[in-house]
Symmetry: D3
Subunit: 247 residues, 6 copies
């Protein structure tokens, strides 16, 4: 079984970190391949970054899972908490495509009546909130909280980051009356075990959750619906650098 | 890894059928143990049946996963589409507990922008609708449809059942503009493959979905939150036949 | 007119206290009969307790209002704030069945644009919140607040309880900008008058509200709908101790 | 106990018809006094009519229940299905004030998991829908249906009206999967018994429901909250014909 | 182009102040005519005031835009933050009718992902909240906050008012994580520029917003729908002072 | 005043058609400049198309309104009914940015209690539905309907298109009980007048609505909030073709 992990930003170290987090939980027979777009922002900390990164996800999914792809993956994970390009990827790929935000929300819903999200920049809270609304997790998600840790600062994984996230999580558990914490950034994957140990409640990293749920769906033989809203893209000319993205 | 499947009704054949459906998708190292309550209805086709059956789920979960249980399971699946006793079971068990309705809803949400549920008795549609509302799947679930096939008629698996479910599903796909079908009864598990082949869209059996998602959560090392709403039950005397259920 | 009050827990003193609260508001011609299940928890402070208690409600309603019942009641009240077994009871009884949580929510909605609930254990807040969502009181209910008073401590009715509830209510009135308080436990019925006097806003005890609303519905000649979702249970074998609950 | 029924339109025959419907269900000790505004439309079949009629309700409530009123009522019912002037009346009166739409919605919610409204002019459906949304009955109200019977045609109570309403109700029960019917006009009160007999499901007339629920609230000693949103009006000069409405 | 501004209260100075605010933003060819009802409260600070004022709006709109009106306006603005009489006015007038609350909510939604409302009396917050719910701005409006400044105190425009509103706005921006402020009273129009300068975020006065959006709709040649819910009022006799309001 | 119209697809004829539609309603002093991305699909008929097109919107908005832009526009309109790149554009531009879907929804809400959307491909209905949900128009939007007219077929403006749209609109007005029609594609702008004449209800073209609402906001001196969620993008390196999009 081959899982394609698409890191929507263009940071090589973060792509590798995400791949490592994925491999750490993958089943014995699961092979992880991690890629990032050929263009776009080094990190995603707002709508503009995310909009360009979503096109990068489209590029990578078309390349690796579109018509004529060599050895297409059995499942795809989009490894940024805003789930950029998720709907686009599902039009391309019959293999299941999961975003890490939705995967984390689903996992948390299995474990607690309510959960809180702790993320990086406060300005991106609204992105998570829009996903909560779109996906229907409003009865479950009791709060989204920023720590204002820059995404790339997470790469160093310093104790300061863990402490700041732990503090925000502790406050959220009380203020939101939550039973679980969702980590709101792919870059937090490496901190998940430490935070779980400190907090004593389920702490969910979306990368890991998406990998295991992908394995589950693949194991069930389920594929993205090609009927209706996610039907394959219509034949169409694309111009400029995007010409190869046409159908 | 041991998964406990609790069939909330007391039909032995249906318990065995559900166990078979679970084993058919379980991973190599997953051992399936299927039980049903020592009391209660042979099938669940309304609120009264379900209310008594939920207590039966509580009984079985306490017995197999409560304090002093010998070899407690690593995960628990409640195999009736109304998810009876789900919250109670989560108070008892640190091991993840999944209902098949919620598992099916989550699976469908990964594969289509909207899904429809096809269930047995029309009178039970409201049970599924209440779950959709409680869990937050209102943006995703576009309709719940009854076929008025009695639950126990599904045991025979006659072609008539498949045809009736297929017809209801086809109508739902068009009328609800849905991309996937959720089977609204554990007794439909054996028909899932045939219906998938006929309909050409994802058809989701909650038993299978719950087994794989349980494996996924166990693989992630995640456990039911013991913090807050799902804290273990408080010490308490129970009277009558329920005395062993006290804490 | 005969009203059956079903106390879902098995505490005799609490059953008698609830009966007294009911009789205190009942109309001249209303006869109150209070029962509790033959099995189950002495108090209800979580989902597990409630799930077993709901089966106890089913048992009592079948016994007193099911086929062959001698002198079936004209109305039924389920006297625990989680409204356990409410839907089941409505399948059994053509006579109106009211839960005390819903009755209290309805009463509060007639008196204020927004209300707050003050309940016992914080861990049970989520039960009230699920009812608020299910019933549709989200535009009205502005908060559910725990005091962490154990249910059975209410029996003593000590001043400490009243003070703690008053304090929580005062804070809720300000923080939630509410105009009325709903008492979130049948065991608080005896404190209602004192709290009303202290707080100067409507304080609603669900037991009393359910009794008077039952009288109102009976006076209107209205009965539970037997059409559709609340149709009488289908004929069915029940096993074990529950055999008498079959249809 | 004295109940003031305010008919928001200025039709004397309809005022008397509503009074008769109220008296038919009132308890032994309840005295019904029915009034209508000194100005405004003879029937209410749209927003313009309703807006003027609401001011008429304010006039009557101030006169009969405001400061200096002689023998103020113990409860007030606003007898038009749009509940015009309800919030205004609650600012004036400590005695409970109920609208017949809300009373009917509450009654139906006690009897069925879902109900449908059958009303007069299709153009007024949106008024009922706005109330459903405002009050929070969206999980319960499954449809609002117009019959395009003019309000004043109901006064004659011809068989044609009953047949048309029955037909609309039958279609609603099936199409909406409802278990109860709410009559969407005070003028339908006299038809309620006949429709109940024909349809075999609970049919709810808001006038009767509001009378009995008012008696219930008065029996509980509950009053409109004077705290916060429904505090008594601030002292203020009113000009023109409305000068007596000032505070 | 002629715009009719209806001030629902009967304060002449406030009517003139609103007219001035409207003229300050009106386009070169837009003529502003401001009126107020012949009856009703000098200011609107609760439901009772508003209910009477809404009838005053109906009176003025019928007079100036109803059948036989001399030189009917091309657009109408209702200049009180509760939007009293809005639906009634739309039945009368084919020319677009805008309320200042809705206009402000729409404007804010174009400029920020979330906004907060700062209004006068805390007791009127619920009026704005009901509009937010009715119009559908719940995903955008993150809070409604009272300052308890009396409406008529705004006429003096004292620095104290500006300071109090600024303080409430600053707290709202942080607590609600909002990006824009909506002024919740027509009487605040004159303070808008000063508050914008102080706060550094968009501050929206509904009077100005409604004038410009009216010009926009008129420029598009769009008119109120006469089809369905806003069809012209049915022919009808009105009694008392309201006789001229009949159709 | 200069308005930048960004057509997210790369069709020159459609860009010109949109520019013509914009100029047809623009005020005397408004200069329209229409651009399209340097890359991407010729039309947008699904999520994949839209995702790439959104990056094209980001490119154009940065170029024309970002730091160092020569003569930046006073307002920006994104002229595709999915509002691709809207949030991204608002981070870049202090000048107001409007999407044509939201502008049309807002316009319709001023004119009718409910509206229906008639769009091109049925498979894109879900895109409009997601916007309706995100923006909060669920109480207003009563249906989204596909005609399965390809976007580029609209360029020819054949009578067949008008007839098909008219038929879908007529059915929607009845089935949805709507009072206005929103055209769900920028390519329908040229058909708006004809459809208005045929249908006799408000028919809203988002391009025109967005132009006039932009003029309104600019006239009010309002700008996109730079506080919080729409703060300017953080400094960041972009790789590949997107390097010029870095900050």
């Amino acid at each position: 079984m081959k899982l394609l992990i698409v890191n929507p930003n263009t940071s090589r170290p973060m792509t590798e970190g995400i791949a490592a987090a994925a491999r750490a939980v993958a089943a014995h027979g699961t092979r992880i391949e991690a890629v990032c777009p050929s263009f776009g922002p080094l990190s995603i900390e707002g709508h503009f970054d995310e909009t360009v990164a979503a096109a990068g996800v489209a590029e990578q999914v078309k390349r690796h899972a579109g018509p004529g792809a060599v050895e297409p993956p059995d499942g795809i994970v989009i490894a940024c908490f805003g789930d950029p390009g998720l709907d686009a990827a599902r039009e391309v790929s019959g293999a299941p495509v999961l975003g890490i935000a939705e995967a984390a929300f689903h996992a948390a819903s299995f474990l607690a009546t309510g959960f809180s999200v702790v993320t990086t920049m406060t300005r991106t809270c609204v992105i998570a909130e829009h996903l909560v609304q779109k996906y229907g997790f409003e009865p479950r998600c009791r709060g989204v909280h920023g720590t204002d840790i820059p995404v790339l600062a997470l790469e160093d994984g310093g104790a300061g980051c863990v402490d700041a996230i732990e503090a925000a999580a502790r406050e959220a558990l009380v203020r939101d009356r939550s039973g679980a914490i969702v980590l709101g950034c792919a870059g937090m994957a490496a901190l998940c075990a430490e935070l779980s140990a400190r907090l004593g409640v389920p702490v969910i990293d979306g990368v890991a959750a998406a990998v295991k749920f992908s394995e589950a769906l693949i194991g069930l033989g389920l594929r993205t619906s090609g009927h209706g809203d996610y039907a394959r893209p219509l034949p169409k000319t694309y111009l400029g650098w995007a010409a190869p993205l046409g159908w």
